[in-house]
Subunit: 261 residues, 2 copies
Amino acid sequence: MRYSLLAGGKRVRPILCLASCALVSSDVSLAMPAACAVEMIHTMSLIHDDLPCMDNDDLRSGKPTNHRVFGEQIAVLAGDALLSLAFEHMAARTGPNVPADRLVRAIAELSSAVGSEGLVAGQIVDIASEGKEISLGELEYIHVHKTAKLLEASVVCGAIVGGGSESEVERVRKYARCVGLLFQVVDDILDVTKSTQELGKTAGKDLARDKATYPKLMGIDKAKEFAGELVEKATEELRHFDAARAAPLSHLANYIATRHN
Amino acid sequence: MRYSLLAGGKRVRPILCLASCALVSSDVSLAMPAACAVEMIHTMSLIHDDLPCMDNDDLRSGKPTNHRVFGEQIAVLAGDALLSLAFEHMAARTGPNVPADRLVRAIAELSSAVGSEGLVAGQIVDIASEGKEISLGELEYIHVHKTAKLLEASVVCGAIVGGGSESEVERVRKYARCVGLLFQVVDDILDVTKSTQELGKTAGKDLARDKATYPKLMGIDKAKEFAGELVEKATEELRHFDAARAAPLSHLANYIATRHN
């Protein structure tokens, strides 16, 4: 669990969660347990996706994948334990300044991003689509579920535990939807434009596997254009908030668009 | 997820959860989402335990195991989705008559029964002990974590969402600890005394694998005696409650001791 959780990812999801809390509250620490939880869930999904029976990947963040180091048994169980620890951590470690009803809402939000309407749904359609021609609609379904839903939940959980109003939570949800899609479009672009060393994970594997990607379906230039439009739309939602408080989320959208690994 | 969840288990954990709620509340429906959640978690652990890289089992409750029907990929993902659905179901479906702070406590209790101090811990030590001589203390560690902790959480969650006092919750926890151990002792006895057909799962597999069991470590007669003592101890804790309200939990301890599959 430590090996994969502390392998040095970009921490995009917990940072989004904390930045979203900062948008609606002056106490960003309210969202720390939720921020840790989203990273645990993300790590769980990576460990299980890398398994021999799934993507069978050897490299992750420049290090051997969990099952390559500890074996398949431990990798399956480490993922299971990280998933339950995420909810345990939120439920047991969130401080008394977050009312319990808000915490329950955040747990409901985050858990719904994992299962049959979240990560797992995306992974199953992804697996089923390998080696097949798929439409842009199907590609979006995969990305929305495999990537965007957890990013959305990270942002929304931050705003909920931070005490955001209904309309504030809905606005950050719209921001998060754009950023979620953006994240995947950029991932797809990096897979075809960067080397394995630059990425810290196997490059070109989408092409090698004949997986559907944005560059494959719309061409690399159109994909980059689409990424630009998503940044625009995301930052537009933030104009309704205090500019200083919205700055971290605004910068994050730009960081995600221009990242190199 | 449906295939394994609805495969017709004994529903011991959800029944314990509901019976425990009935001990402290006249409204047993308060615990229904928690009862469903514990069965989802139990089912997840069975699906993952049966995987080829784990126990590699073909039969469960008289039916082919999940990965035998749907493949390893789906089996891993179905387990992941059931685990997150458990917490989603509790958080989103528990009615307004359960105060949110109680619900958070129940979620913390249940989630802690899964990870590195619960099911996963037991499974890891179990895997590591195959083919080795282990002590009675190590055997107890495995069973406490693999079986007893989730049974305990099922009972304790029922009492928490039902609104039991601190001392009532602690009393049902003691009851649950005895029943948890009892459950595993009986499981071990059945493995050596019943046929595959009677059990609905592969019989004698503990012996074949050279796994440590109570009959192996203390002999079959002493194991049966030990089971009797545990029923005594469990029902003793219930004497502090109204006899009519405690009847379901009392009967359950006896049912677990005398079950045949």
